[in-house]
Symmetry: C2
Subunit: 803 residues, 2 copies
Amino acid sequence: MASSAKSISAYGEARSTVQGKPLEAEEVRKMTAYFRASLYLCLGMLYLRENPLLKEPLKVEHLKARLLGHWGSDAGQSFTWLHMNRLIKKYDLDVLFISGPGHGAPGIISHSYLEGVYTESEDEDGMQRFFKQFSFPGGIGSHATPETPGSIHEGGELGYSISHAFGTVFDNPNLITLTMVGDGESETGPLATSWHSTKFLNPIVDGAVLPVLHLNGYKINNPTVLARVSHEELTALMAGYGWKPYFVEGSDLDTMHQAMAATLEKCVQEIREYQQQARSSKKAFRPRWPMIVLRTPKGWTAPRDVDGKFLEGFWRAHQIPITDVATNPSHLKVLENWMKGYKPEALFDKNGSLLPELKELAPTGNARMSANPVGNGGLLRKPLIMNDFRDYALNDIVPGKTIKGGMANMAKFLRDVVGKNKTNFRLFGPDETESNKLAEVYKEGKKVWMGDYFDEDKDGGNLAPDGRVMEILSEHTCEGWLEGYILSGRHGLLNSYEPFVHVIDSMVNQHCKWIEKCLEVEWRAKVASLNILITATVWRQDHNGFTHQDPGFLDVVANKSPEVVRIYLPPDGNTLLSVMDHCLRSVNYVNVVVADKQDHIQFLSMDEAITHCTKGLGIWDWASNDQGAEPDIVIASCGDVSTHEALAATALLRENLPDLKIRFVNVVDLFRLISGIHHPHGMPDRQWKAIFTDNKPIIFNFHSYPWLIHRLTYKRPGQQNLHVRGYKEKGNIDTPFELAMRNGTDRYSLAIDAIDLIPELVNKASSVREKLVNARLAGKAEAFENGLDPEHIRNWVWPFARK
Amino acid sequence: MASSAKSISAYGEARSTVQGKPLEAEEVRKMTAYFRASLYLCLGMLYLRENPLLKEPLKVEHLKARLLGHWGSDAGQSFTWLHMNRLIKKYDLDVLFISGPGHGAPGIISHSYLEGVYTESEDEDGMQRFFKQFSFPGGIGSHATPETPGSIHEGGELGYSISHAFGTVFDNPNLITLTMVGDGESETGPLATSWHSTKFLNPIVDGAVLPVLHLNGYKINNPTVLARVSHEELTALMAGYGWKPYFVEGSDLDTMHQAMAATLEKCVQEIREYQQQARSSKKAFRPRWPMIVLRTPKGWTAPRDVDGKFLEGFWRAHQIPITDVATNPSHLKVLENWMKGYKPEALFDKNGSLLPELKELAPTGNARMSANPVGNGGLLRKPLIMNDFRDYALNDIVPGKTIKGGMANMAKFLRDVVGKNKTNFRLFGPDETESNKLAEVYKEGKKVWMGDYFDEDKDGGNLAPDGRVMEILSEHTCEGWLEGYILSGRHGLLNSYEPFVHVIDSMVNQHCKWIEKCLEVEWRAKVASLNILITATVWRQDHNGFTHQDPGFLDVVANKSPEVVRIYLPPDGNTLLSVMDHCLRSVNYVNVVVADKQDHIQFLSMDEAITHCTKGLGIWDWASNDQGAEPDIVIASCGDVSTHEALAATALLRENLPDLKIRFVNVVDLFRLISGIHHPHGMPDRQWKAIFTDNKPIIFNFHSYPWLIHRLTYKRPGQQNLHVRGYKEKGNIDTPFELAMRNGTDRYSLAIDAIDLIPELVNKASSVREKLVNARLAGKAEAFENGLDPEHIRNWVWPFARK
């Protein structure tokens, strides 16, 4: 076991990679005062509801009844913000601040307050209200929530600070995103891989991320891994990730100010030099970008111990640093002395306003990190320039007969979106863009690649420093980049294999929460929607097998606020085009589009597709034979493969039982199924009944787990007649037909179910039923014999005339 | 841009860190032959259904109709396996092989075949069947699926090879888990952070993981990041993660054999030396464990190009290397020449059996990696030694009155499970064990920590090299370790905050799929259940706010196979004990237990709790007043906080409307609600009706999103009378009561709903209704004023006599 030397030597006099004392003594004095003002406000937020300037002796009744909030990383973050302020003023920089550590919001919000952004009145009354509303009902949270000026990153869930930061600087050449990275957060997988983002950043067209890894030392109750490895290991790790680490370590304020000022300035200069070099030479290269390791005690500037128990520099400083101040008078006194030690009377005038000599340390206007428009990206958002999607229609088709690839066709539309929006749109995906039949986009924008190039890359590598497609085998990083890109005012689309989009369940949840909460913050302008295109779906997994079969992302999304989530399952190529156009034009949603990438029968002309998508669901008259009569049964579908099988079942029934009246319904917009009370896209029961009836059996063939349809329709009239088929977690190495059969979603099973649901058919259709059962068995046998479905299944087309 | 020098110099003559030629020429010859045999089998699996030994000229009819499978990483993996075989024999090692790269299964399965584990007959007929079943309906997948002998890691989803590997070696001091890590997989977040696992491995009690990072160079369609950074960066990265990297790079077989033999042997020797040093000195330390960087061309030993397009050493070698062999005769010939180039006639005798001189290269019996019992961990599983959970009962309570912490109490039970199973059970969690009120376990097992120690750790740090609790701030790593630990035959429990368990949605999905599929593999012995304890739940988030409110993990789990998933929501402390005991004794499930960590009212004595948990749900007579009569309404609950509010609503109704007959139902075992047809825990409609009625309104207060209850009960008689309340994605910085109110799950809202659902009460209870509405408003006002709920809500207890 190592000695205690490391923990103590880290504090006290600053140790740093960059030497020098760039600050005058007077500057140090003022910066220390400003820092004290920020920390005073942090404690005020945690503890006080009255007596904000401590003009009176601190009493229990001045305290909040419930003490909530975190102290641990406040000082280190505030310190970093303060030092960047100096450089913003000196170099006229454009800087966004991202706060990665969990619950460090007071350190940030205090600066917003001091900069005049986050207060109604810069006086004692304003300060009191500012304190009270923190972590208080009706107020603001203890993360950098949407209410926090300048924030695009809440950090409630850890791990995404760096990927979000890179998202903000792509196509933002002048921006530096200063990113505090928590050492706890650094242990998460998403953060650990996001350091590699430098291999995808082009110094000519993109800005720069300046990470400050905050070695705060402790998480909630544990030391952090990176604070407990050797200096050499940590240096190697950062160098291995491709960065050049600069260390600033200590706690003594005077020397720490000098060290941080010199180091941060060195980093900014290096960034500018690399950018200058690349931009003047027009040769993109990957520098070893600078980053800072800032080691300060957790809870820095708190008392080192209270009653013999460590506070500063230990995990006890994580949350409310002294919890029993309301019941322990001596601890109340400790708190009072601590707060008074910041000398509020020397920082704020008697009205509670920050002294002018301190105020002038911060930048003004939009140069303030708390007021950077990038932090309210909707303000900067410009609509995409898009061709008319109808120009990409699949026109050369016989609906119901022609087999084409809707995804590959849509890729042409997407190619031109890329081409027409070269600084405003990027496509993201984990190494699956080509596999997902979207390679056409590379004609207008190759894959961004700043790693080494080999000669063989010329053989179809599609790599370029100035590409527009972002591919790294980390769904987390792709999603984080996209979120950062959108939140800073641009547009994008993520494409992913269906089973592995679950990897980012939690990230998408958090993004939904962010944009939903933004709706309640009046100054937040709406951002582009987060578009997720899911393909390589459950029904076409073949040899990938069971691990690649999971359509349940829709269940996760459907739980989020109806104000922000939209789910579309276009049944063919023209509907896919219409849906994609709609999604790319929309704002403030998470749009999820599910469409298989393989070739499929095309059903709708472009005009029909537009009509169908506009309604979101509808009766397909050409597939139905109940015109002018009550149907005997409704067959419904949602999802392309599911629609294909449902139509084949409909055809089997119509061929074999021509007297049977069948109504065929297709659903594109999943939330049409729900009541209008519960989702803006929902429809009234009256309309439901007109489409589905309230007294006929309905067989609903669904793309995903069947229960989602029941959850959406549980209150519908006639819901007891609704029989949903979908993926029931049955799969293996299956041909498409065999997989459908395992789950009861194949044409034969659906047709058999229809017969079984209509009492009059029980005897009348028994021979038809037997025929269907035998056909089903034959399909399975052929799969086992040849590894292929029967040819009549593989090449099935709609057998009736269309119109 | 770098020149092409790197790509070419990586191939050809071997370059390696360790020099030396440990192999005799004869050994090299035999190993090359064995390697050729393995590769021949790989191609056979991809292509052939007949003519397995190519005794006849290759014709289209010998090919599989559909070509599926992957070639890309097969050679590198096979090569590594082969070299470890040599050392297993030389040093009598106990080695498990984990295959991280996606779809590399042929490389592994071919060895299982050659070692005689994975074949019914070692002859031509056996080989033909072996080829045909690969990636074929009714056969096996293209990953290391449960059917693969020696596999505990399928790798269908990437990122978990290293965390799984560490899980297998914890408390397995003699085991070396050789882990192939894909360079694509290395880009995932979970993999990127899992390298830090060394800070949690004790060389005295644990075995060793030997990672081989396979720089195969390409993913599906992209180069990999780690293959396109400099040698210096990659070396630094591995050193920064705490490993000592050894490089083996090239393609020339003779020199590569020598390099790999020397290097792998060096690594094994170092591992043994470090273990010896720690074990003899009894001083645990963290060595810089050896690892290997193996750079070979993707698709190694394939033709370098076909028709002028790169194959070997390029991403085109990823999947089926030549796809059009059935339609392009010249390509069929290329394939035939390629396969014949491995000289099958010199490897297998005319019956198709591997020649004895090659056969002897592999170990025998359980020393074969394909037959290591750790790879079928259920064989090694020993039941936990557990005290009677009833001994930990909360006995000193007045049911319905006493407020206690059920979680903190259960921690005592868990403490003794830890204490009695010091090599067979570990507790896992992302830095939340203490926050989750489980710190009592530290008395029997501290937190494993192999990072540096500071003096201040003595102040309640609870760290130790020989601890039993695993805490790293990566849910992915915790889950991966736990899965590896269980799959290798031991027991464990993961505890997590509820909102962030979504981080591992996808991992849990994959584990469910693994154990479900294992049920179909007759030689797989059952492993301990994966137990997930979810706490810090949605209803008690206070200042954490909206980002910490997401109870939707249950929806993800509920989609998995009913054979393997179980969900429990114990309402109080004694039911929690009963449920935990049950889960820890069970096998082959994923058990999810949801219980809040705060103090709550206790409702059931231990005897009552056991009865209740055994039934899984039941009428609480003591809370009901419908004895001997039909109820007017059923009030049901599932989840502790939800039960608390539902009971409070029941009490309000009984106090204000004493004539109203209320039946109170509580659900512990969520799947009791579903039909017995769909889940083994489900119950028949008859029983449902006896409990819930089929004609009375039911108000069901649920812990999670309400729709999950509708999804489970959509076919139940009287389901139209079911009104579910739950979390509806409404939240902010809320007091507990205020949050409940936003979502309609508070006592007043529930009581008001009850009144509104009973037509007779519309007029009769109007004044009571008004009183309830006012009380609800007052609760909100008080929260806004003081940040606290009203005292009568905070300290509410059941107001009636309990028997």
